[in-house]
Symmetry: C2
Subunit: 128 residues, 2 copies
DNA sequence: ATTGACGTTGACGTTAACGTCAACAATACC
DNA sequence: GGTATTGTTGACGTTAACGTCAACGTCAAT
């Protein structure tokens, strides 16, 4: 049964290689709010997407609060014009911040590139 | 006296906008090891560069341990061939990891770009 | 009816990355 | 010689992001 529409907590845990505890923790922190069947949690596709976003944010080095900010921007929001402008500003800021983060990482990569060159040069001299 | 060769802890703290406590903490963790004048710490240009690397790593979302790994790659090391090959491998791995991190961030940016489009479209319709 | 798999809610433990505060030393200034 | 500034070493406090239990519910299979 591929491409299911609903998931249990352990299915998601296995798929994304995190523990159930972690997923429940994200809910405590307000990043997820799955439906319930009795007391059991049921996750739909939207919940799954949110979890993916959280974990991507984590790999990117974001805190849960920062990931939450991003997730909240995806929410429909009240179709008020002022709110849209506000959201647009926030999106711009966040994009700029993420871009600065990329710049920092690229600097780190370039720094390592020099280390690499020195290594290769040393190995070459040694070989001859 | 611009471009000094030595710095006190509070000079560096002010320049990089961190507290002295933070700089001392980095030393506790083995990321810095400044000289001493009596019991006072004295930082030279190399120390300053290391601090810059640490803070860049921080902005990039790295842990102190990860930043230390990178800093250690800059160290001369024993000019043994096996060690060079080993270092080269580590540098390659780290570069690849940082690149994956960039990819994740770019995905986040692209996701936000869609949010932006929806916002702008909504504002346009509203304007007319 | 009991065992086992899966889930639940607390509650407490842990690590990283500092902040905060106390008690003290040295140096500079008035 | 007092005092203000800048530094030092502990020691304890704090927040984020979970891990690790304990105690319990529920449903299917033996």
């Amino acid at each position: 049964m591929p491409d299911a529409t609903h998931f249990t907590i352990s299915e998601l845990a296995k798929e994304f290689d995190v523990t159930s505890r972690t997923i429940r923790f994200y809910e405590e922190k307000g990043l997820l709010s799955p439906a319930r069947n009795g007391q059991h949690r049921i996750y739909d596709k939207a919940d799954r997407v949110r979890l993916e976003l959280i974990l991507r944010g984590k790999r990117a080095g974001l805190s849960l609060d920062e990931s939450r900010e991003i997730i909240d921007m995806y929410a429909p929001g009240s179709s008020n014009e002022r709110q849209y402008r506000f959201l647009l500003d926030k999106v711009n800021d966040k994009q700029a911040q993420l871009q600065r983060q990329i710049d920092d990482i690229q600097q780190l990569i370039m720094g390592l590139q020099e280390v690499r060159s020195r290594c290769e040069k040393a190995l070459k001299l040694n070989k001859h």
